[in-house]
């Protein structure tokens, strides 16, 4: 039972770190629906680097770097060129989907490296995730940096007048957010499920995106949501824990996606949004007009 719980928490880590990344960007007012693409880049490059150099550390660093780079591209399109952020995010996703399929294909198969040592089944990344949750919560609620980022996402014009460089704040937030997404991808491909195949994230990035809306931009709720999704995902992979051979394992595979939709619907109801909805960054998704 503990083994199952540990495995679920390891899955949650991937959701949590990716979603924390998205949360930072959104707090600064930039929506990135291309999170799946950024994660695919991180996962694939991290996998390739780790496999060729034999070093997990280099793999993770490469994933963080490429995540930051791809997010910088999104920032350029969304902040400097001022395009529709959803269109740009779609571009990032399809770029990641297409390019990683080509680049990663020769590396199809298992990583074949000694596994990263774990603590009673918990991967060290889980603890990284916990630290990041607390750190990011602290940054947004206790520091002036967090306040600067949030104000850039709430009312950029007023923020600019008060002497904060909105463009720079947004760029830095988006790049940091991409670094976390890249890392999350690498945690998936190096630790959680170290086997590469085409488009192997199967929509985890989109689930992480949904998690951010679900969390009402609060890192702790976000973490709770990640654990919920991680556990559900793990259950769907091990149906025997719930009901032995009641349904085909392929049907069980659909369960986390069905649940994601159900949870998303619940959060979109008027009841839920009237209770919590005020937390949404006011200027989310809106490009800033130059005056």
């Amino acid at each position: 039972m503990w083994e199952f719980a540990a495995r679920s928490l390891n899955a949650s880590t991937v959701f949590a770190i990716a979603a924390l990344g998205e949360l930072i960007g959104q707090r600064a007012g930039v929506l990135n629906v291309g999170i799946e693409g950024v994660m695919l880049f991180g996962a694939t490059l991290g996998f390739i680097v780790a496999k060729t150099t034999g070093s997990y550390l280099l793999g993770c660093l490469a994933a963080i770097a490429i995540g930051g780079l791809i997010a910088a591209l999104h920032a350029y399109f969304s902040i400097t060129l001022g395009g529709d952020q959803v269109v740009n995010g779609m571009g990032i996703w399809i770029l990641g989907f297409g390019l990683t399929a080509y680049v990663g294909y020769p590396y199809t198969g298992p990583l074949n490296m000694e596994r990263i040592p774990d603590l009673a089944g918990l991967s060290p990344f889980f603890f990284v995730g916990v630290v990041l949750v607390v750190l990011i919560w602290w940054m947004f609620s206790k520091t002036s940096l967090g306040l600067r980022i949030r104000s850039a996402g709430e009312n950029p014009s007023v923020t600019e007048v008060s002497g904060i460089n909105v463009t720079r704040t947004r760029y830095l937030s988006v790049i940091a957010s991409g670094m976390l997404m890249g890392l999350a991808g690498a945690i998936y491909s190096l630790n959680y499920n170290p086997v590469w195949s085409v488009n192997f994230l199967l929509g985890w990035g989109f689930i992480a995106l949904a998690l951010v809306f679900f969390s009402m931009w609060n890192p702790f709720i976000l973490f709770g949501g990640s654990i919920l999704f991680g556990t559900l995902w793990q259950l769907s992979l091990n149906p025997q824990l719930v009901m032995e051979s009641v349904l085909s394992r392929y049907i069980w595979r659909t369960v986390p996606f069905v649940i994601t939709i159900a949870v998303l619907v619940l959060m979109s109801t008027r009841w839920f949004s009237s209770r919590w909805g005020a937390a949404k960054p006011e200027a989310l998704g809106l490009p800033r007009e130059e005056e």
Binding site: F77, G98, P106, T254, S268
Partner: protein
């Protein structure tokens, strides 16, 4: 940038003419292709040789051309399925899930009516073929209705919902055709069953009858947006849902309607490739590739600016590129997935070029400095 007495300046654009839009799109595609040329170079293949091989297989080879046409029609249908919600300001990235739903429904009908492989169906073949096609359209509509309803009723994010439905559809088909599923073929290789020969759909000029049908769908869709009240209402909703509300347009019904219509067309795309293209007549082992191919519908819809007729030549181009790309990667010892790389690079160049739909570069005479 300055040149002589002139300066290059950026200006906001109010309207894009059809010519400008076409020029921007073509430029974006050319630059995208040039960027993929770098991939050819990296694989030590001359890009010109590479593209020559791609285009000659795709458009001038008697085996390649029919494949190109079938893929293009598939992409065109996915494009139409994308465009409908796009006109209403909504994102349908669930063509894959919808076409899986359509395929399951169509083959479900075939199974129920005894039109599987060696069986001899009792009903008239014409009836079975019609029912299969209607089932595919209905299956796509059901999957499409989910995000549409949820968007209209609860304002649930349609991007996430359609993406989740893609995965659900993918696993439902896996359940159907693998490991003893009800749709499994005889060979036990994880393929769906093959249709009985008597229910192979009729051909038009030696090709699938869905080819003229799809072109008809594109024209109808164009006319709907250009001429009908419904098309106008959808566009008005896309421009501003709140303004549309004051004009008496329901903010619940429009999302539901565009997603149902989009789903129907995506279901037809599934029917086209799996049940009507000569030589397929089953849900193939690599059905997931067709889900991936459906994403070309997004590019095609964006690049044709939501015009389903303009989308036709673009769909043909993309169909040819993916088909030729698949072919040459073996011939020129390129890595697998050059068609995927193309998909990604074309998409991002297109996104970058969106900038020029809104802005324009003009040469302005410089003011003399005082």
């Amino acid at each position: 940038m300055r040149l002589g007495g002139y300066q290059l300046k950026l200006e906001k654009k109010i309207r894009v003419t059809a010519w400008e839009a076409t020029a921007i799109s073509l430029l974006a595609i050319l630059i995208g292709l040039a960027l993929v040329g770098l991939i050819f170079l990296q694989a030590k293949v001359n890009p010109l040789t590479g593209y020559k091989a791609i285009f000659s297989y795709a458009f001038a080879n008697k085996f390649g051309l029919p494949l190109t046409v079938n893929r293009s029609i598939f992409i065109l249908l996915c494009t139409c399925a994308f465009i409908l919600p796009m006109k209403a300001g909504l994102w349908n990235i669930g063509m894959a899930g919808q076409l899986y739903g359509g395929a399951l429904a169509a083959f479900g009908v075939a199974l129920a009516l005894g039109a599987k492989g060696s069986q001899t169906p009792t009903l008239a073949p014409g009836l079975i073929i019609t029912l299969m096609m209607l089932a595919a359209i209905l299956g796509g509509a059901v999957i499409g209705a989910i995000p549409g309803f949820l968007k209209g009723r609860f304002n649930t994010n349609e991007i996430v919902v359609t993406m989740m439905l893609n995965s659900i559809g993918f696993w439902l088909i896996a359940y159907g055709i693998k490991e003893g599923g009800p749709f499994m073929g005889g060979g036990g290789e994880g393929e769906g069953f093959k249709l009985a020969e008597s229910v192979f759909p009729p051909k038009v000029l030696g090709g699938a009858f869905t080819i003229p049908l799809a072109l008809g769908v594109a024209v109808l869709l164009y006319l709907m947006f250009a001429r009908t009240t419904l098309g106008y209402q959808i566009k008005a909703f896309g421009q501003s849902p709140s303004a549309a509300k004051y004009a008496g347009i329901s903010s619940q019904n429009v999302p539901l309607l565009v997603f149902i219509l989009g789903g129907m067309i995506a279901g037809l795309a599934g029917y086209h490739y799996f049940a009507a293209v000569p030589g397929v007549y089953k849900i193939p082992l690599n059905y997931g590739d067709f889900g991936d191919l459906s994403f070309y519908g997004i590019i095609c819809g964006l690049i044709s600016q939501g015009n389903p007729v303009t989308a036709v030549p673009f769909a043909l181009l993309f169909g040819g590129l993916t088909n030729g790309g698949r072919f040459v990667q073996g011939q020129l010892q390129l890595g697998y997935g050059i068609d995927y790389a193309l998909l990604g690079v074309l998409m991002i160049t297109l996104v970058a070029f969106q900038f020029f739909y809104r802005n324009t570069l003009v040469w302005k005479k410089m003011e003399r400095e005082p």
